[in-house]
Symmetry: C2
Subunit: 186 residues, 2 copies
């Protein structure tokens, strides 16, 4: 048990400055990838109940509004006294499917900029990373875990968007399917 | 059999203009994601024998030099008369590991621009997409399949880079690991 915990600590890499490097790059990277694309790409998905690239941006917008900073503020203000309100992972599916992706990308970029300003103002010392809050499913979570998750959540959705668009050409690649990691079914 | 072939055709989505939309966005998207990042991110990988984000850019450069356009030209000039020379998927691992990623990103961007100019000059009619060449492992392949693969190959490596960097925070996210698709082991 002691050995196991030691090993876990060895693999801890979180660093606030490096985390912010990713958080500030994601909107630009997604803008470069998606802005101006044909509807064929933006509306493609992996089948019923899966999200297209434009819907993923809608989900990222929801995160900026209702997930990351609000939960960070709850940890700082409430600690473990009350759980985070649950985050609606389907909220963005109720929005107008015709809203241009460029408009969503712009909104995401603005909201993310505001989030980073708040993050820098709110988290100013290493010791705050150990502060805890109450997750509705997981129970006790640390500020460090929330911020790490924010970063990995960006990567999840960058990776998802690439995977979803790749899916469109699954048949078109012919025999090369065998070499293309992104087309491997999980 | 007839049914099966019909079904395959139904899922064919390749379109040259749309393919170019992706090919021209990839360098910008990767530049936005990686340029200026700390060494911690750029040197991270998924364990022994796996590539870090900077090495992935090296591999994409190799593709522009020795894979996509050279094979396209072989199909147009040689047809199936001789096989493509094999592509060295490890060539980039022999290059200077200290070369700054920003320099690699710039080279990739320039090479990709040239590739797209060549592609537009070389492929000017729909009927050329059915031309065939000889792949050293697969045998007969179509021009359409080569170009589709080029696009999906971009997506593969965008997705890989996001996955590799996410891996760095696997332990840091704590209980959220369960919710983060990108951390699921294949």
């Amino acid at each position: 048990m002691y050995r196991k915990r030691l090993e876990r600590r060895k693999n801890m890499n979180f660093n606030l400055q490096e985390a912010i490097e990713i958080l500030e790059r994601t909107p630009e990277a997604l803008d470069a990838l998606l802005s101006g694309l044909s509807a064929g790409w933006l509306n493609s998905n992996e089948g019923d109940g899966t999200w297209n690239p434009s819907q993923v941006i809608g989900h990222l917008i929801e995160g900026e509004k209702n997930d990351w900073i609000p939960r960070l503020e709850m940890i700082l203000q409430e600690g473990e006294s009350k759980p985070f309100p649950p985050f609606d992972r389907y909220a963005h599916l109720r929005e107008d499917p015709k809203r241009p992706v460029e408009e969503k990308l712009r909104e995401f970029k603005e909201l993310r900029l505001e989030s980073i300003v708040k993050l820098k103002n709110l988290v100013t010392s290493e010791s705050q990373l150990e502060l805890t809050g109450l997750h509705p499913d997981f129970g006790q979570v640390k500020l460090r875990e929330l911020l790490s998750t924010w970063v990995v959540h960006d990567f999840t959705h960058i990776s998802q968007i690439a995977r979803v668009m790749a899916e469109r050409y699954r048949e078109d690649v012919g025999p090369w399917e065998a070499y293309l990691g992104v087309l491997k079914k999980r």
